[in-house]
């Protein structure tokens, strides 16, 4: 079973990241929400309607992983086609398509056929087709895969622009650095189950890892750290601990000094999303 007991709440107007290792069920979850895959049990609802509801798809945009389409269409034709499939017509399309091409940086390539496009250009035009009808909810499955740094920056800006106009973005990505700077909240999925949520805006002032070099660290001093820290590892003179907030740091320092330790280094460092990911997912067990 790819996914079980999946229940996600995504707030309107936020950028939500959906994270997990290969085979965790991320793409399957998106496909279920979009009605591409039917759950073997239960129901999938999105925007208050069944995922099979055709009408609700007027409000949804989707960029599939590794976007592919008829290679003989030009960039403009592709967007016009997808616009028409979304119910757009004539003047509306003539106005919207150039805006989208400009947004994804493909205006100079608007008359090129897709078979002339690089992988990164295909991702960009795929992103544009997902946004053609200005959807309320946008699912992006690995939107930055195959993109160079400039392309990634552009996609990041486009995603933020969608949030600014009030749309909700559901982002599925392996690139944790991208997720960290783009998403408001994330959920972690492992073996088909959501195992953790994290508010990344709160996280920036949240969990902190502290690297300490000290002598004279007694067992009692380390045991006393449990008041503030969630983990503490001692290796010779090096103590690494994790605390819930930067506000705890002065208390920790005072506690260690009071316990008789000589402190040579005390370096706080915010836990990256990658560290968090590794912590939640555990060791790579292979695929």
């Amino acid at each position: 079973m790819a996914v079980r007991n999946l229940s996600l709440t995504v707030r309107r107007g936020e950028i939500f990241g959906f994270l997990g290792p290969n085979g965790a069920g991320k793409s399957t979850s998106i496909k279920m929400l979009l009605g591409l895959v039917k759950p073997s049990g239960g129901h999938a609802f999105v925007l208050g309607a069944s995922s099979n509801n055709v009408a609700v798809r007027r409000k949804i945009g989707f960029l599939p992983e590794d976007f592919r389409f008829y290679a003989w269409l030009t960039a403009t034709e592709l967007l016009e086609l997808h616009g028409r499939l979304c119910g757009m017509q004539g003047a509306q399309l003539r106005e919207r398509v150039p805006v989208l091409l400009e947004m994804v940086g493909l205006t100079p390539h608007r008359r090129k056929q897709l078979h002339e496009f690089s992988k990164g250009m295909l991702q960009r035009i795929g992103l544009a087709q997902a946004l053609v009808h200005e959807p309320e909810l946008i699912f992006l499955d690995e939107p930055t895969s195959g993109l160079d740094p400039m392309g990634r920056r552009l996609v990041r800006d486009v995603i933020r622009a969608q949030r600014e106009r009030g749309a909700t973005v559901f982002l599925n990505s392996h690139l944790l650095g991208e997720v960290e700077v783009t998403c408001d909240r994330v959920a972690f999925i492992k073996d088909g189950e959501v195992v953790a949520h994290r508010d990344l805006r709160a996280h920036s002032d949240g969990e902190v890892r502290v690297a300490i070099r000290a002598r004279g660290l007694s067992k009692e001093a380390i045991a006393g750290l449990t008041r503030w820290s969630t983990s503490a590892d001692l290796d010779g003179e090096h103590l690494t601990l994790t605390t819930r907030s930067t506000a705890d740091l002065p208390d920790i320092l005072r506690h260690l000094v009071a316990a008789g330790a000589d402190i040579f280094e005390f370096t706080p460092d915010h836990i990256s999303l990658e560290d968090l990911f590794m912590k939640i997912m555990g060791k790579d067990r292979g695929l």
Binding site: K31, L34, G35, L36, V37, K38, V54, A55, R57, R58, I60, F62, P64, E65, D66, F67, R68, F69, Y70, W72, L81, H82, R84, L85, C86, G87, G126, Q129
Partner: protein, 276 residues
Amino acid sequence: MGVWIMAGVTFREAARKKLLWAAFLAGLAFLILFATGMHFQHKSLETRAVAPFLRYQLVNSFLQVGFYAIDLLAVIMTVLTSVDTISGEISSGTIHAMATKPIGRWQILVGKWTGLVGMVVAYVALLFGGVVAIGYFIGSVLQQNLIRGALLIILECLLMLSVTLLSGTWFSSLTNGVVVLGLHGLAFIGGWIEQIGEFTNSPSLVNLGILSSLIMPSESLWRRAIFEMQSPVARSLPFGPFSQAVAPSLTMVGYAGVYLISSLALAIRHFEQRDL
């Protein structure tokens, strides 16, 4: 609306395939060859001052060969241009961007079917019209029941198209091609078995032939088409690939129509239900 959008893009997709143009070129090459052959046959018959009745029969038989060739070309072209339509788009993921748009999956499938129908009808009309024109302008013969014959050949192609799309909702492109051409091969052999059964007065063989036509009625439509168009004298000949002593009944033609509609309905149903 979604149906017509999909029909338009599918027609354009098919029209851009090299395969279609190769089929058109093959058809054109055939028509040139056929016209040349007809020219020499007509000249030979005139030189030998063959009686008009006999001349009519000979030209008529020659035209049957022409219709047989275009039927074969049309069936193969229909299968090969549509074999990748659903199955290939599912395996490549192209279908994902379409199936998540606010149109029903049935509209995607019916739209694709409609677009391919346009291409098949244009192809058959061109080749069929070519053979008729060659017969009329070079051989001075116009066969009977031409409209009926053309419609039956088109029906045969549409049957093959519907079965290909149905199979494409289940199998990969390659398996799909093998399944559909295999079924047509079965129907072809079954047609021969039925004719041999009639010729040798063997009810078991006839029943076996009918059974194969029930499994896949495509060949029956061709046999009915050629029966409709051939001259009364040709009908009295025993049998052969270009003439039919015993034609499939109109009931079989009706069955083929029901088979076509059922295939399309099943294709829609399965495409609606399957995971993409």
